[in-house]
């Protein structure tokens, strides 16, 4: 059966949600427009900039390259939920301390991407940090402060 509108049930930041979505609605538009979770940003809409990065079933994805219709049964986490849960409060603090954001548009995606790296590779080097955030564009900072912030958290979490 195929339909223009799809009923989905998913959890977003721990909350169970059932909605009818237009088949063509991307995940990030669903989060922003239907659920008013506007922390995930819409930048390039073709997977290049990383501003729409969210977590689906524990792995970061491009919110603009996945359809809401594909998220039936999925566990979606956004910057709002992860921020409230305090999971990466140290990373957020480091971004603030190190001036790793200016306009803030890229920051939610940058934080989710950095958090995934630090979870899988807690002792990431500067080169590994740069490689991992290469899919997240920042037009303000020139990246050095962002790398500094992530590196400082890698060191503090690693107990150095």
């Amino acid at each position: 059966m195929s339909h223009r509108h799809i009923d989905i049930t998913l959890t977003v930041n721990g909350e169970r949600i059932t909605e009818r979505v237009d088949a063509r609605t991307t995940l990030v538009d669903f989060l922003r427009e239907t659920l008013s979770l506007t922390g995930s940003h819409v930048g390039c809409e073709h997977g290049v900039c990383g501003a729409c990065t969210v977590r689906v079933d524990g792995a970061i994805v491009r919110g603009c390259l996945m359809l809401a219709a594909q998220c039936d049964g999925a566990r979606v986490e956004t910057i709002e939920g992860l921020s409230d849960a305090g999971e990466m409060a140290d990373l957020q603090k480091a971004f603030e301390t190190r001036n790793a954001l200016q306009c803030g548009f890229c920051t939610p995606g940058m934080l989710l991407t950095a958090q995934e790296l630090l979870q899988s590779n807690p002792k990431a080097s500067r080169d590994e940090i740069r490689e991992h955030i290469s899919g997240n564009y920042c037009r303000c900072t020139g990246y050095h402060a962002i790398v500094d912030a992530i590196e400082s958290v890698a060191q503090s979490r690693g107990g150095k």
């Binding site: 195929s2 088949a23 359809l67």
Partner: protein, 278 residues
């Protein structure tokens, strides 16, 4: 931009997915990392998306009869973390970090990359360099197509409109297999300006059975057969001279630049092939 309207169907079986391809302008949705971008830009406007994510038995990596078989829905990230890939398909392991970015690799699939056949993509060139094959399911059952016969033209493959790519197979590496991989891109994770995936057999101090598959320099991944033969004779500079592709100019680089870069890559990969030991 936002996609034009389309209908969506989540296929529950391979047979159902193939049946749905009978509808006009239907497209298969796997990882969606190229397709959804083109939908957003309205470069493609299908009437129906057939979501094959969740189909059983299309995901996973297995060793079978001297081959490594990778299910079409295997995500790049899964292949990147796989010990089987590292040990038995080392060329694919070398290519993996160059494919997009972590968030793209979490979602993008091996089968999608091969089926889409972007001429600047890494995996089609790896499949060609390894002399692998593609397993296809269609209306009339299953068939297998060799990599050398699979890539037909720009974004055009041996897949017909009613076909679904179900797996790829590459020969499992043994102690005499040598592989090399290099690419040049403006930024990490960008599509390559030029790239080269290569495979050979160790032969004394040299190599034989060289297979070079360039990407980003033509409409499909390209073998360079004259250069392969010269490389097997140890003539690296002659192999560079013999490169006969004619890349097009585009906004990223001129064709002349790309051809020069192909030569640079060939020298680098030649060194990898003769030095690399499993």
């Amino acid at each position: 931009m936002k996609p034009a309207p389309f209908a969506y169907a989540k296929a529950r079986s391979l047979d159902e997915a193939i049946a749905l391809t009978g509808e006009a302008d239907a497209r298969i949705l796997a990882g969606g990392q190229s397709l959804v971008a083109t939908l957003n830009m309205r470069l493609s406007t299908p009437s129906l998306l057939i979501d094959i994510n969740g189909l059983p038995n299309l995901s996973g990596i297995a060793r079978k009869n001297g081959h490594v078989e990778i299910g079409a829905l295997t995500r790049h990230a899964e292949a990147e973390r796989s010990n089987d890939i590292t040990q038995h398909a080392p060329l694919i392991a070398l290519a993996m970090p160059h494919i997009g970015h972590p968030a793209i690799r979490n979602r993008g699939t091996i089968g999608g990359s091969i089926a889409f056949a972007d001429p600047a993509a890494e995996l089609p060139a790896c499949l060609l360099a390894l002399g692998g094959e593609v397993e296809i399911a269609g209306e009339n059952g299953k068939r297998t197509v060799k990599a050398d016969d699979f890539f037909k033209g720009l974004l055009e493959t041996a897949l017909g409109p009613r076909d679904i790519l179900t797996a790829i197979r590459v020969p499992a590496a043994d102690k005499n297999m040598r592989v090399g991989f290099a690419e040049l891109a403006r930024r990490h994770g960008d599509y390559a300006l030029a790239g080269l995936a290569a495979c050979a057999r160790a032969d004394g101090k040299g190599v034989k059975d060289v297979r070079l598959a360039f990407f980003g320099v033509g409409n499909t991944p390209l073998r360079a057969k004259k250069s392969e033969a010269l490389l097997a004779e140890g003539k690296i500079e002659a192999a560079v001279e013999a490169l006969d592709m004619t890349p097009q100019d585009d906004v990223q680089a001129t064709g002349k630049t790309r051809k020069h870069l192909a030569g640079v890559l060939l020298r680098r990969v030649a060194a990898q092939l003769t030095e690399a030991r499993l």
